[in-house]
Amino acid sequence: MLRLAIPKGRLLAPSLQVLAQAGLVLAEDPQGSRKLSFAGTWHEVPVQAFVIRAQDVPVFVERGAADLGIAGRDLLAEGRPRVFEPVDLGIGRCRLVVAAPEKIAQRGLPAPGARVRVATKYTNLARAWFAARGVEAEVVKLYGSVELAPAVGLAERIVDLVETGGTLRANGLIEEATILEVSSRLIVNPAAWRTKEALVRLVFAVQRACKEEHA
């Protein structure tokens, strides 16, 4: 039995597509369903697929509740779970950026020795990025609507994911720097990798499917 953790939301459809290309067959389509667990097979190997919040996928895989999952590079870099990341799937592409209102952005990025207030849900990555530039970041942790923070005086800058930049522009923010190019990765529990041969074969099948897709 192989257990897969698949993220809900915008990554669900492309994740299902890449797994289907690798040969995964689920008994029913998780899209539009309220169920969280779906039975299936991969080349006669029984599979249980869990459809869960994207943030929970690394937790499931690190703790061995799932053998394999799909998670964004942003979550992996922020949380540093002890998992393998053998395949970059090339789906869910976006960027983690620093953005600020135009007036602040015009002055340029803060100089070494400066102190800034930053709103983000990526507290570790934000702190590390500013620290590497000699800037002390006071980080305000938010779980959503981060773009609102400069307008209400919570922070001067934000660190957030950007796909097209539309939400930033709509809220009067300008992109100042890219911290991380993000795409989704196949992640694997290291112990399962060593003890389940079917899992290794599935990972290679996904790798092949990705190569064919991008060829």
Partner: protein
């Protein structure tokens, strides 16, 4: 719950059946080690922080709690890992001994969680072999590791062998510190390894190949007359020997295996059991640590966390 009764986060407690099981497993391991002439070593709870620095293992330093001794002893560190303590003991207290076998059992405390459940305390049990011919000592410790895995109550134990000499040989000419390579290899990310190859100025694919390396890659590497070839030959030979000696444990080679703490410099290994989500046993060779302690002699050992063994037994039983 009032604060006085609340447990400290990350500190486990056992009672009744669980306590019995822990003691039973500890007893089995002690018997195993003692039967092979390993002598018990009971180290101090505190150590000098300089010992951790000598190990040159950034992750071990990150996990070590250091504070100022109220008795005026200067900075002291709470043990986060037994191996440097055993190494220090042999270097300082057994200066004329050419060969020593020691084992230990006791708690260690880390500054940060060492397990996904947030646990910071480990009940570390292990065995260290100092001196003697390297190949023979490696074989002895690997067989001991395989026998230890076999006494656990879980299904299909697997012992995975690697060799740090492979990675060291591949990245020796690069401009990136070894610790950064180790971090990328621990995540098995070909995308990040390719990025690091560019940064290090190494030929494209030279390190990425290690992530996908199989026995055919290893056989090809073993034919080379350089450091890479030497590491590959040593790895293949030890894997074959331990597989033959302990057939009830499955033995696999993984050329990209990188240990938790980077004081190792030769053969490294980890033990697993089907159905349990993390390694049950770690170990490897650490001659460089002995050298750093001023006592150049071969050293190799293994260690495990009994709390993980308890969790793995419960998992297997369920």
């Amino acid at each position: 719950m009032i604060r006085e009764l609340a447990p400290v986060p990350g500190m486990p407690e056992a009672f009744g059946e669980d306590a019995l099981r822990l003691r039973w497993m500890e007893g089995r391991l002690r018997t195993l080690f003692a039967a092979r002439d390993f002598v018990e070593f009971i180290p101090a709870l505190l150590q000098r922080p300089e010992l951790v620095n000598a190990a040159r293992a950034p992750r071990l330093a990150h996990h070590t709690i250091v504070f100022s001794d109220p008795e005026g002893g200067g900075p002291v560190a709470i043990r986060a890992d037994f191996t440097p303590l055993a190494a220090r003991f042999v270097a300082a207290r057994l200066p004329n001994t050419q060969e020593a076998r020691v084992f230990y059992s006791g708690p260690t405390l880390a500054a940060h969680p060492v397990a996904p459940d947030g646990r910071r305390e480990q009940w570390q049990v292990g065995a260290e072999r100092f001196g003697g011919a390297r190949a023979k000592a490696d074989r002895e410790i690997l067989e001991l590791a395989a026998h230890a895995l076999a006494i656990g109550e879980w299904n299909e134990p697997v012992l995975v062998l690697g060799h740090l000499g492979l990675l060291r040989a591949l990245v020796a000419q690069g401009r990136v510190p070894f610790a950064r390579w180790a971090e990328v290899l621990q995540r098995r990310s070909p995308a990040d390894a390719a990025e690091l190859e560019r940064e290090a100025g190494l030929p494209r694919g030279s390190v990425v190949a290690l992530l996908a390396a199989d026995e055919a890659w290893l056989a090809k590497a073993a034919a080379r007359e350089d450091a890479l070839g030497e590491a590959a030959r040593e790895l293949l030979a030890r894997a074959e020997e331990v597989a033959r000696a302990v057939p009830k444990v499955q033995v696999r080679v993984d050329p990209a295996l990188v240990p938790r703490f980077l004081y190792h410099d030769g053969i490294v290994f980890e033990g697993f059991a089907r159905g349990f989500g993390r390694a049950l046993l770690h170990g490897g060779r650490y001659d460089a640590l002995m050298q750093a302690l001023g006592r150049p002699m071969p050293a190799v050992g293994l260690s495990l966390d009994l709390w993980d063994w308890l969790a793995a037994s419960a998992e297997a039983a369920s």
